[in-house]
Amino acid sequence: MTVWVTILASGIVTYVTRVLPLAITTSRTAPPQLRRYLDALPIAIIAALAGAGIAVPDAQPTGGAEVGAAVVALAVAAWRRNLLFAVIAAVAVVAVLRAASL
């Protein structure tokens, strides 16, 4: 019972965080300052996700392998403009660096 209450309530609060800005409509246009803020928001959130995932990949602070792999992902993505190449390179580098540190 406790488990089901927790699952349902967690699902509801999660959905509320996702739906509120999308469900409410307004005909008013956002003021310019807010528009500038919203324009910068996507890069900020994605970069925050990246920074958090590099710093603490799996409940443990990074040993450096993730930092190296992130630099490789950054370089390959900037050079080739290709998501897939960057991800494959980063996964290969992180696997090698982790194995090397054992």
């Binding site: 609060v13 959130i45 710093a55």
Partner: protein, 224 residues
């Protein structure tokens, strides 16, 4: 390339990762004492990777439900910012469609869909196909892990767990266009990393994501 096809072609590293991490979740949830039905229900109802791991871990340690739900809320508060950023691109869609898109909104869907919109596309097919396939992968993985999880090897050894973070890094690298973008991205990454290293994991991304856009104002003020 049609939007649906582009979503599959660009998304497949994320899909593979979702299956693998889904299996890990299924396994973890079963080890924490959840039944197969409860485990799958969590992935269907909550559908938010990181917070699901935290949720079952807190259940295992006997934390009170209100505390667990509050933790999940803090962890997922970042979705509010993502939905706000997605909003201009979906504002003209009918309400039912928007309610569905909200259900499919995850870190990965947000990152890929924003990348698509920023390349000048206006269709919602890419978002819908990517989100739908990701949902299937996550739930299939969960069910596999919950049912057969015991014999599966640790994905960390192969670096697959890092694929999602690599996707975020690459999207930022491809997406930065102005000097102010670089400042915003650096500020967000550093603040989020610092908060997580300091133990504020639940709120690291939402705080960093909400504050970093202010760096764009600082850069532009300088120029004047």
């Amino acid at each position: 390339m049609t939007p649906g096809r582009a979503a599959i072609v660009e998304g497949w590293p994320v899909f593979v990762t979702a299956v693998v991490v889904g299996i890990a979740f299924g396994l973890t949830a079963r080890q924490s004492g959840l039944s197969i039905v409860e485990t799958s229900a969590t992935s269907v109802i909550v559908f938010a990777g990181a917070s699901q791991f935290v949720m079952v871990d807190l259940l295992r340690t006997g934390a009170p439900p209100p505390l667990i739900v509050l933790t999940v809320l803090l962890l997922n508060a970042r979705h509010f910012l993502m939905a706000a950023a997605i909003r201009p691109f979906v504002a003209t869609a009918p309400l039912v469609r928007r309610l569905g898109l909200a259900y499919l909104l995850t870190d990965e869907t947000f990152a890929l869909a924003i990348g698509w919109f920023r390349r000048g596309h206006h269709d919602l097919t890419y978002y819908t196909v990517f989100g739908g396939v990701l949902w299937c992968c996550w739930n299939t993985g969960t069910l596999l892990g919950a049912t057969f999880g015991a014999g599966i090897e640790d994905p960390q050894r192969y670096g697959i767990d890092f694929a999602i973070t690599a996707v975020f890094v690459a999207i930022v690298a491809i997406g930065v266009r102005h000097r102010s973008d670089v400042a915003v991205a650096l500020a967000a990454a550093v603040v989020a990393a610092a908060l997580r290293l300091l133990g504020a994991s639940a709120v690291a991304v939402v705080i960093a994501g909400a504050l970093a856009p202010l760096a764009a104002f600082a850069i532009r003020e300088q120029r004047k």
